[in-house]
Amino acid sequence: MGVCSVIRTFLHLSIKPKTEARRCVRLLQKIKTEHATPQLYTTLHRRACSTVSTPRITTHYTIHPRDKDPRWEGVEMERFADEADVVIVGGGPAGLAAAIRLKQLANKHEKELRVCLVEKAPQIGAHTLSGACLEPSALTELIPDWKERGAPLNTPVTEDVFSILTEKYRIPVPMMPGLPMQNHGNYIVRMGNLVRWLGEQAEEVGVELYPGYAAAEVLFHEDGSVKGIATNDVGIAKDGSPKDIFERGMELHAKVTLFGEGCHGHLAKQLYKKFNLRENCEPQTYAIGLKELWMIDEKKWRPGRVEHSVGWPLDRNTYGGSFLYHLNEGEPLVALGFVVGLDYTNPYLSPFREFQRWKHHPFVAPTLEGGQRIAYGARALNEGGFQSVPKLTFPGGLLIGCSPGFMNVPKIKGTHTAMKSGMLAAEAIFPKLTAETLDSETAGLHVPEYAENLKNSWVWKELYAVRNIRPSFHNYFGLYGGMIYTGIFYWIFRGKEPWTLKHCGTDANQLKPAKECTPIEYPKPDGKISFDLLSSVALSGTNHEGDQPPHLTLKDDSIPVARNLGIYDGPEQRFCPAGVYEYVPLDTGDGMRLQINAQNCVHCKTCDIKDPSQNINWVVPEGGGGPAYNGM
């Protein structure tokens, strides 16, 4: 294996054309294409059946392949490759837990194991966003002395408050022990800081961490098993042509690859299709979570207090609710946010504006008065639970964490199960990797033991017990029906009822046409408690290299105006928490066009999930771009 990569490297160095020659070829190509008018170029690439010439939006090579693109002729596409034992995609709780566990086992058994982890964020933790109330069970299993090692779990939960909100009032709901939302023994954490700490622990045990490098492509052996991943190419201009500083990404080959991309990962999406991993489970359902960090007036600060609410401003048939946690890290900081189930039906709903509106409720606003907002962000989370867990293993790889989705929805916790899944993956892989003979039919290791072990673990029991709570909201009484169901079947019967309720299908299919729905009148932001979208996006610190193809790719550039705007009044303008999608008037003539402000993207994945036409395909932008969350 090692010799092959050395030979490949030498070939790469010797056959790579000189920079000057490459530049010359590229200039010639540019002259060739500049003579073709932009309109003609669009025509060449638009679908045969469209009647209106749509301005070209998507330039990404996943939609317009480079091997057919004249501008890429003669460009060196050979990639440098390196070998590791295990490659992990994603530096979140699951990925890091798996990496740490692998190296712990390797160090304990004195085996050499090369574990490489790639993460698209510029530093570990910069793309992490969560409430969060952490159940420390998995962390204690992974690193029993986490307290001595300085893990940032500084705020034990002291008060647990649950409310049903109406427009003006609040109905308190008693937090009985045994209810899933009860938080005794848990910690309020700033997940970004915990993930950063996990990163440090991983480096200490010898994991190779590579933040700032996104896994852009899955690589396959000839027998169809997963060979590893390739990181993103850099230096592609906005129109899809190569720049002078174009560099190919790198290939990381591994015996087994773990995919821990978090909720709705883009590589996982490809793997589901390739290996048919979703044939025996329900489609995943999701919610979007928006979050802010506030520095509040000290008099209002009650460290350790956890508040959750349901009800207003959402109607009883739209799933969602809020959280507000008082942190205890030396300053009066609260983490608050709003979650909206993405199976909502009204295309006029804006999760961002529901969040801003909720903050004005008489029970919430006093806490924030006199305070200052210091951070904002958003991320999709999965809600499918037990019914939506796909097949977890395939030749050469496996899925961990929120990517397949192990979130306990009524508890609103997924970190402990994500970490446990990572640890179980590591424990299943390790003996196979270090066995005397590599026992595998395929070139990439297949580790079905991981799925079996997961099904025998507390993760599975937990998910099974709460499996019917989320689907129980799909009844005429909506929220209230769901709460009654939870009260009876979970609190009393502990989820042992013999039936399993189904979800309603994919979130994207739930939207009703705009003409069947009423627009929602949202109040204007007051600039003190509620804010507008653009100033919020600025607080997320998000940025991307401007001169690159938009990573929100459309399979068909003409569908947004024809279908999304025509039938649903452009819901992406409202569900995107970062203002990426805008319908603006055409420069000439009547009509609108979709403008994609890719630089604003906070990598939440909501658009890929909720687009009613399923035309948007989120792919990873150049590594290092995206939000710059600090302890979110």
Binding site: F80, E208, Y213, I245, E247, L539, G541, N543, A628, N630
Partner: protein, 255 residues
């Protein structure tokens, strides 16, 4: 025939997050957890040094950074871009908070003598403090010529031809070596530090020194009295006619 010069490239490890807030006690800004990386102008300086090495005009590129443990990341990036070895000047805690251009210049001057450097390349200014002083002070301490705001650099024998971006336009100068050059935006477009190069850079050497080893005294001659946020931008006002505008300007005392 071109002489072989060995440059020292210095890098700033500064915070690049757009969201900065002032500490509650007004003594500074919050830097904990804020994204730090290489100063963009220093990236340009590194790129220029690597380009000169690729043209075989210089022998060796040494990347230097002054700061806490984490600033080694910046040196690694420079090594991944093509620098040969790194020197990390370990400054942390209170010393790091007080580290200003004068202290850095003293450190660089000492290092330049130690390394027998012929060329020092820096970014023109750091984007966190915008001081634009380190290059100039270093040249003064060493009594070397300086070419600041360079947008074009070429070596000619033992002299350097430089084009400087100044307020009036472009200035062409010729300076002797050894010299200090600070890079401006249009000098070049820095290459990406690709992952294979980052991996190779892990094997390149980074030496750690302390300022005391270089005989540098870090006491600051400046005392920060207070750090405040800029005043909140107030809403503008629209007026209907030019007469209204004049009235409003007079009211505000501007006319």
């Amino acid at each position: 025939k071109c002489p072989r010069v060995s440059p020292v490239v210095t890098l700033c490890y500064c915070f690049v997050s757009p969201q900065i807030r002032v500490k509650p006690d007004n003594t500074g800004v919050v830097t904990d957890g804020v994204k730090h990386s290489m100063n963009p102008f220093c990236e340009i300086a590194v790129e220029e040094a690597v380009k000169l090495k690729e043209k075989k005009l210089i022998k060796e590129v040494v990347a230097v950074s002054c700061g806490p443990q984490q600033s080694q990341e910046t040196i690694r990036t420079a090594l991944a871009m093509g620098a040969d070895r790194g020197i990390h000047v370990d400054v942390s805690g209170k010393d790091y908070e007080n580290l200003g251009p004068l202290q850095v210049s003293k450190i660089l001057a000492a290092l330049a003598k130690q390394e027998d450097a012929q060329l020092i390349l820096l970014g023109k200014q750091a984007i966190d403090d915008d001081c634009n002083q380190t290059g100039q002070m270093t040249a003064a301490l060493l009594d070397w010529p300086q070419g600041t705001f360079a947008s074009e650099v070429s070596l000619e024998g033992d002299k350097i031809n430089l084009v400087r971006e100044i307020d009036g336009g472009l200035e062409h100068i010729k300076i002797n070596t050894p010299a200090v050059i600070t890079a401006d935006l249009r000098l070049n477009t820095p290459r990406y530090a690709t992952l294979p190069n980052i991996m190779k850079a892990k094997k390149k050497k980074i030496a750690t020194v302390k300022p005391a080893d270089l005989g540098v005294d870090l006491t600051s001659r400046l005392e920060v009295l207070k750090v405040e946020e800029p005043p909140q931008r107030e809403a503008g006002m629209k007026v209907e006619t030019v007469e209204d505008l004049v009235v409003k300007l007079k009211e505000a005392g501007r006319v």
